[in-house]
Symmetry: C2
Subunit: 280 residues, 2 copies
């Protein structure tokens, strides 16, 4: 259905920004900065971190010590020269004036910038996030309620299948193998590949996809792709997931208890009657 044009508005453009081998400058080393560091490292960025050593959060220190993609400078922001060849800037410092100056320089140089806690100085915001391997989910309430964003994030976390991340990773590998076996960009083969991958993802459970190993993938391509069908999990040497119907335990126990209670009650009635008869 076509969206109501008049209801379009009030939101943000949710996007997955690509940072592989891009240079990100992080100014500040506290708790907020450590979160920013993690976010950009997840996205394979090359990070320059500028922050006095005494204010570093333990997590920030850990990233500096263990991640070769982080270049650390123990000092405060030094001016426009710190922005040379930078593709993105994230600041998380208490100094509002310096923050706003950095933002102004970034705007002039057209470098995307986020200044923590100063919305007008942000080209983009960070939302509440979930990450499970290649799966990433962002929840944004567009600044209306961070707490509800958090509550919703928790609910979403609970309903994402346990092995979703692993399943996605395996499906990604299967896709690569399929492209090697049946190469070509777009066209008929591209459409067939896409259709077959969709069929596999639809026919198999997430937990089953997560179990795919090289051998199973080989068999799946051999007896599936080559024959234009989707084999069952056990046909390629996998163990199918237990039936989707809910376990009957939830009904069995109360029923059993009821059975025993019903029996006992009646037994008690008979027994008391027998007694009455004897005593009568």
């Amino acid at each position: 259905m076509a969206p109501e044009t008049k209801t379009l508005g009030g939101g943000s453009l949710l996007i997955a920004w690509q940072l592989k081998d891009k240079r990100v400058l992080v100014v500040g080393g506290g708790a907020v900065a450590s979160g920013r560091l993690e976010s950009v490292l997840v996205a394979d960025a090359l990070v320059t971190l500028i922050a006095p050593f005494q204010g570093l959060h333990p997590l920030t220190k850990q990233f500096i010590d263990t991640c070769p993609r982080v270049t650390y400078h123990d000092r405060v922001f030094g001016g426009p020269q710190d922005l040379a060849d930078v593709d993105m800037v994230l600041t998380a410092i208490d100094d509002v004036e310096t923050s706003e100056q950095i933002c102004a320089m970034c705007r002039t140089l057209r470098i995307p910038v986020n200044v923590a806690d100063i919305p007008p100085s942000c080209d983009f915001y960070f939302g509440s996030q979930i990450r499970d391997g290649p799966l990433q989910v962002m929840i944004s309430t567009n600044g209306q309620s961070p707490k509800l964003a958090n509550i919703i994030r928790k609910r979403i976390e609970e309903c994402i299948p346990d092995q979703a991340g692993e399943a996605i990773e395996k499906v990604g590998k299967l896709r690569t193998k399929l492209r090697e076996r049946a190469p070509g960009i777009g066209g008929d083969v591209g459409k067939r590949r896409m259709r077959w991958m969709i069929d596999v993802c639809t026919a198999w459970e997430m937990e089953e996809l997560a179990l795919l190993d090289d051998e199973m993938m080989g068999k799946l391509l051999e007896s599936g792709w080559e024959k234009g069908r989707v084999p069952r999990v056990d046909e390629v040497g996998g163990k199918p997931k237990q039936s989707r119907t809910p376990a009957p335990t939830s009904c069995t126990l109360p029923m059993l208890l009821g059975f025993l209670a019903g029996g006992s009650c009646l037994a008690l009635i008979f027994w008391s009657r027998t007694k009455s008869v004897v005593w009568a």
Copy 2:
């Protein structure tokens, strides 16, 4: 717990890009372009659309006809002059060469760009999305499996409370009213405001928050904020949501059936014994 540095990678930076009153150029008017149009209109962008009329998707036409924020040019992309004063460029045309030329110009001018179907020509990708008023959720599998992204999106859609969007909107309004009543940036009052809002969002159900109207908000602030407490829904004139505990039906019925079955069985045993005695 600190994240394992070695597992950080392979992802994107999920962000909520701000487009309010920014100029977005959309090149192309087909199905993909109509989706892009919707996404940027949701984010309050000012859109220039360049695409020959004969290739327009019905939805694209609808946006042109009904949305004053869309300026339409019935022609193909004309060169660098089309990029003047543009803050973001999205192309969705079949012409790969022109697409790559547009991308190159954008890179020179440092304009964020997304070229549909050509990943290396994208500064950012679009993910599978859910939108409910101010609530926006994006699911990204980082290109590994669009189908699984779709399956996960559907599962997430099912577990987001029905009135989440409305609840967020109402909480946003309540926050604005609270800020008017107790103004000041940061400091103690800021912390108190944040704490009280968190308490309200935690104590009330999503469905209850969604029911908040001006009168209820007034009472909530009067008898809640002013007295440092969180009133119940019915105290401010609202109807509380039915109890959170699951309906007992799921246990009662099997238990009752069991009870009857147990009783009947024992009755049958007694009856058959009595019979045997009589018949003996």
